[in-house]
């Protein structure tokens, strides 16, 4: 448990360093700062939900790693649909809470655009990371339940920060 925990912690410090690169923007606009934990958390959750489903399907023997596999495709589509359902709520919520708690506000359209663009990109990345991680675990004959879920959750956390950074640079 402990060695894995320390490796994951080191990976997460990488995403902390990315946050530090745009600390000035985050401190200038509270709604962007409010977006940070929820974007990280949701990205990690999208990955871990998909990973748990693929691991189970894999244990049950109902999964094949083919592009036209119904189960793979259906779960991938659901992940993107889930992201596109929750990220608009996240965007409007972060904007509203930012206004309520005071501080300089960005227009609601900007915060919404940042949240939905980040969410859409993250869901595609989460699908790619989860499929690759499950496939690698399968090839190396590791139990996907033990390996894939923590790896995918933490990698998606990091991607959450990186994607938010890139999207904020482009849109704000």
């Amino acid at each position: 448990m402990l060695p894995v925990l320390l490796v994951l912690t080191t990976i997460e410090i990488g995403s902390g360093l990315v946050l530090e690169r745009f600390e000035a923007e985050l401190l200038a606009y509270p709604s962007l700062l409010i977006l940070v934990p929820v974007t990280i958390g949701t990205a990690g959750n999208l990955g871990s939900i998909l990973a748990a489903r693929l691991s189970t399907a894999f244990h049950l023997g109902t999964l094949s790693f083919a592009v036209d596999d119904d189960r793979l495709l259906g779960n991938a589509i659901a992940t993107v649909a889930l992201a596109l359902s929750v990220f608009p709520v996240i965007g409007v919520g972060a904007w509203g809470l930012g206004v309520l708690t005071g501080g300089p506000a960005l227009p609601v359209t900007t915060v919404l655009a940042v949240a939905v663009t980040s969410g859409g990109l993250l869901s595609i990345l989460a699908v790619a990371v989860t499929i690759v991680a499950t496939y690698v675990a399968y090839r190396l004959e590791l139990d996907p339940d033990d390996v894939v879920i923590p790896v995918v959750t933490n990698v998606c956390d990091v991607l959450g920060v990186v994607v938010l950074f890139v999207v904020v640079q482009v849109l704000v």
């Binding site: 995403s15 902390g16 600390e23 401190l27 509270p30 934990p37 929820v38 939900i49 119904d70």
Partner: protein, 191 residues
């Protein structure tokens, strides 16, 4: 099942957990948004945020999963009064792992910031914030996980499906709230 059926089912089953963690994430964001003074006062504090939040999820998610398995196997009774050594040992080990990973995060963050020639508050300050917040959030999360999983199990819910959303939601909120308290304590103690 067709692609459409698989997708519809995965969507329906994923939405509740995602919605619960959305609420927790936004609440954590509000606390983080209110921490601008502390983030400015302690250089490098923001670098710790993702690592400390992930540690909560990794450590207490694993504790919750262990408790859920022990309940399923009948090794553990869902009553605090009968809390046995096994439960206490698992809790103590989780808190120790959490504290160690928090202190480790502060050390790695300080080293990385020094290497990148970025401003940092210094090792003692960051370690103090990480360890104090690790202890506070560890105590709050352990209590929440044990009480909710026990109560859920007694009412017939599957503890396995409770643990994930519970830990991600409570972990975000308690993790950031503990970080705020720890940062204020350290600023107050050091200044």
């Amino acid at each position: 099942m067709t692609v459409r059926e698989v997708a519809a089912r995965a969507y329906r089953e994923g939405l509740p957990a995602l919605s619960a963690s959305l609420v927790g994430g936004l609440l954590a964001g509000v606390v983080l948004g209110g921490m601008r003074t502390e983030l400015t006062a302690i250089d490098g504090l923001l670098v710790l945020v993702p690592a400390l939040l992930a540690t909560r999820g990794n450590v207490y998610g694993s504790l919750g999963a262990r408790i859920a398995t022990a309940l399923h196997q009948g090794l553990l009774e869902p009553r605090l009064r009968e809390a046995d050594d096994r439960l206490l040992r698992a809790v103590a080990a989780a808190i120790a792992n959490g504290l160690l990973a928090s202190a480790f995060a502060a050390v790695v963050a300080t080293a990385a910031l020094a290497w990148l020639v970025r401003p940092a508050a210094g090792l003692p300050m960051l370690v103090a914030v990480a360890v104090i917040s690790g202890l506070l959030s560890g105590l709050a999360l352990t209590t929440t996980v044990v009480l909710f999983v026990f109560a859920g199990f007694r009412r017939g819910y599957n503890p396995d499906t409770l643990v994930g959303p519970l830990v991600t939601t409570a972990g975000d909120v308690f993790g950031i709230a503990a970080l705020l308290i720890a940062a204020r304590l350290v600023i107050w103690g050091g200044g």
